[in-house]
């Protein structure tokens, strides 16, 4: 536009388009929340999550980091629940309630990181495979299929065994084994979006691959990715518990899966020390369920009619 015609009348005092756009975005977030609130299960899930996250975040204040110390355990081994130890003690006499709270930190952290990694890989491969047709898509989808038919757990076990034992390994093992479903979903959605006329319009305007993928495909795939993330978090938490239960987690940190494995090693299954087994199990189940509920609710709000739900 020429210099002469700059200085267009923005209504004096009126906010610029950016500011207005931000306001719009806030309004659409409010609308999203209003819709979300109508899904009761989703609200419950969200409440449970908020609770767990608060507990996990405040754990250093409430239980302290020395809760997993074996050497100065406060109680006797395998005490049943009492006023002092509401959930009893483990085989070393540690406070199980404290361990449970502390363990939630690792479980949530690993779940979130692994899900983020998984969704990142999945979205990247899904969008590119949907956008670039031809041999690239073929190769990528064959790789995806290969990962998809691979038993996830076995692959994760192999990875966790081969690599050094640490939280990073667990995250990696879960991340690289759970992405194929996301990739498939995102690719399908990308193909659907790519067939819309606005993609053709963007091409005719001169938009390149990057422009189309980032400006058009990604925003339309985002709701799906978001819903998928919450769903994957719950399976990542389960996977982390499984790996820890199988003794493949990081032995130096306490996690819910690790607690279960300790319980099994201590023979609590046969000796009836239920307090050792049940709480971490319930923790895993409730968090996984909470994420699933949230994911379903998000999906229901965002997905049914793509684009209308602004």
């Amino acid at each position: 536009m020429s210099a002469e015609t700059t200085g267009t009348p923005v209504e004096p005092g009126g906010p610029g388009p950016r500011a207005l756009a931000r306001r719009r975005r806030r309004a659409s977030a409010a609308r999203f929340w209003k819709e979300y609130r109508r899904h009761r299960a989703g609200v419950f899930g969200l409440a449970a999550l908020v609770l767990f996250v608060l507990v996990a975040l405040t754990a250093p204040l409430t239980v302290g980091s020395d809760v997993d110390s074996v050497t100065d355990a406060p109680g006797q081994p395998l005490e049943s629940p009492s006023g002092r130890f509401p959930l009893g003690t483990d085989q070393f006499g540690r406070n199980l309630l404290g361990l449970l709270v502390w363990g939630s930190r690792v479980s949530l952290l690993v779940g979130l990181l692994a899900a983020a990694l998984s969704v990142l890989i999945g979205a990247l491969i899904g969008i590119t495979a949907g956008h670039f047709r031809g041999w690239y898509a073929t190769v990528m989808m064959r790789i995806t299929d290969w990962f998809l038919v691979m038993p996830t757990l076995v692959l994760a076990i192999v990875l966790a065994t081969v690599l050094s034992r640490s939280l990073g390994t667990v995250v990696l093992a879960i991340g690289v084994t759970t992405w194929p479903t996301t990739a498939r979903l995102v690719r399908a959605q990308t193909l659907a979006v790519e067939s819309r006329p606005y993609i053709e319009r963007a091409k005719a305007l001169g938009g390149g691959h990057w422009h189309i993928m980032s400006r058009h495909v990604l925003p339309n795939v985002m709701p799906l990715v978001l819903a998928q993330t919450t769903l994957i978090i719950s399976s990542a938490i389960l996977a982390e518990a499984t790996l820890a239960f199988l003794g493949l987690g990081d032995p130096t940190v306490v996690s819910w899966g690790g607690l279960l494995q300790d319980a099994r090693e201590a023979g609590s299954v046969s000796s009836g020390d239920w307090w050792y087994l049940v709480p971490p199990g319930i923790g895993i189940a409730v968090v996984a369920l909470a994420f699933t509920l949230c994911g379903r609710a998000v999906e229901a709000v965002l997905n049914p009619r793509l684009g209308v739900s602004r």
């Binding site: 536009m1 020429s2 210099a3 002469e4 015609t5 700059t6 200085g7 267009t8 009348p9 923005v10 209504e11 009126g14 610029g16 388009p17 207005l20 756009a21 719009r24 819309r196 006329p197 606005y198 053709e200 319009r201 963007a202 091409k203 005719a204 305007l205 001169g206 938009g207 390149g208 422009h211 400006r215 058009h216 925003p219 339309n220 793509l306 684009g307 209308v308 602004r310």
Partner: protein, 391 residues
């Protein structure tokens, strides 16, 4: 206009339509009122920035021997969607490309914008052949724009009107004030005051407004050519006229050339200077709208006109479906459905054998009236132009 724009729309001022409709002079005249509001002054004639040039005679866009084919399904023969087309579009000219669905008109339009790669033939824009490298295409797509049929589909539901219109500017990194440019394009497309529309989402607009946004998004780059694929087919009848009037006005004000792809002959009558009738991948009749639509020569054009509700005489309803582009008949491609051949008129004119065996020559792209039909060429003007062969 910025100094960075290499070519302000030059060329012949389009046909002098008296309608000096109030609009914003997009050419950035210094006295243009800010904000793209309708100015009192008449718009500069397009091309005023450049002296008369000899290029005025050469077409803006020229297509020669264009062939586009798609691979056949399950190993079948290739579908020859566009099968040898010559077509010129001059500056400031509106050409209507008319045909039934599946005749290849949309494919032709898309190949003009480089969205489909032709098998053979070439597209020349402003004297330079269209290359299919990414860089060349991007530069080309600043000067030629596409308007699609379905305005709801061609707008990303997650973008605001502002973002949609500004998209072209952002892709091409045009300098200058984005907001001004967007406001100007919107008001030029008839959305006034533009600020009111900036932050709307497509689903908050009516169909006509959406199509105006699409047109604004195309205008913002100041193209020289607009390719519109059924621009009003999905709009309500009362809104349709307004959008067509907008296209006419843009031609008057900006010297914009346009190729309008349509199945609606009435639309061609409404806005086009020239019409090209396409059948099964080839143009079978072309010429000035008045000529072709009031005195059609090709039996196919006649049939198309005869089935219109308003048409005088008996309608010639062609039987069967449009044939398959992967299996184009030998000889004249229309002969299997041709009513002139079927009722023996062609036999009497002594061209029936030619119809079945010899392919009519490809019509060239210029403006003169031409027809690709053995019978029409053999028996020029001996039948009454109004109707088909009498029954």
């Amino acid at each position: 206009m910025t100094g960075t724009t290499p070519t302000p729309p030059p060329g012949t001022p389009p046909r002098a339509t008296p309608d000096a409709s109030p609009g914003t002079p997009l050419d950035g005249t210094p006295d243009a009122p800010p904000g793209g509001m309708p100015g009192p002054g008449p718009g500069l004639p397009p091309g005023a920035g450049r002296g008369p040039s000899s290029a005025a005679e050469s077409p803006l866009l020229s297509v020669e021997g264009l062939h586009v084919a798609f691979p056949g399904r399950r190993g079948g023969a290739d579908a020859r969607a566009v099968d040898g087309v010559d077509l010129d579009i001059r500056r400031g000219e509106i050409v209507a490309l008319v045909g039934e669905s599946g005749c290849g008109k949309t494919t032709l339009a898309r190949s003009l914008l480089g969205l489909v790669r032709p098998v053979r033939g070439r597209v020349t824009f402003d004297g330079a052949p269209l290359a299919h490298s990414a860089r060349a295409l991007k530069a080309y797509r600043r000067r030629a724009q596409l308007v699609l049929q379905d305005p709801s589909g061609s707008l990303n539901p997650r973008h605001t009107v502002y973002d949609i219109v500004a998209e072209g500017l952002r892709i091409h990194g045009r300098p200058g004030d984005e907001r001004t440019a967007v406001a100007e394009a919107l008001s030029r497309a008839g959305l006034r005051p533009p600020e009111r529309f900036f932050l709307r989402y497509p689903h908050e607009l009516s169909g006509g407004q959406r199509q105006r946004v699409v047109i604004a998004g195309a205008l913002v780059l100041r193209p020289e050519l607009l390719v519109a694929d059924e621009p009003v087919a999905s709009l309500d009848a009362s809104v349709r006229g307004e959008i067509l009037a907008l296209l006419l006005r843009l031609r008057t004000e900006l010297g914009l050339a346009a190729l309008v792809v349509t199945h609606d002959l009435g639309l061609a009558w409404n806005i086009a200077d020239r019409v090209a009738v396409m059948y099964l991948g080839r143009i079978v009749e072309t010429g000035a709208v008045e000529q072709v639509l009031t005195a059609p020569r090709h039996p196919y054009t006649r049939a198309l006109l005869s089935v219109l509700p308003e048409a005088p005489g008996d309608p010639v309803v062609l039987t069967g479906e449009p044939p398959d582009p992967s299996n184009i008949p030998t000889g004249c491609r229309f002969h299997a459905r041709c009513q002139v051949l079927a009722d023996g008129t062609a036999e009497r004119a002594g061209v029936a054998d030619a119809c079945r065996s010899r392919e009519p020559a490809v019509l060239h792209g210029g403006g003169e009236s031409q027809v690709a039909c053995h019978w029409a060429l053999a028996a020029p003007r001996e039948v009454s132009p109004a109707g088909p062969a009498p029954r």
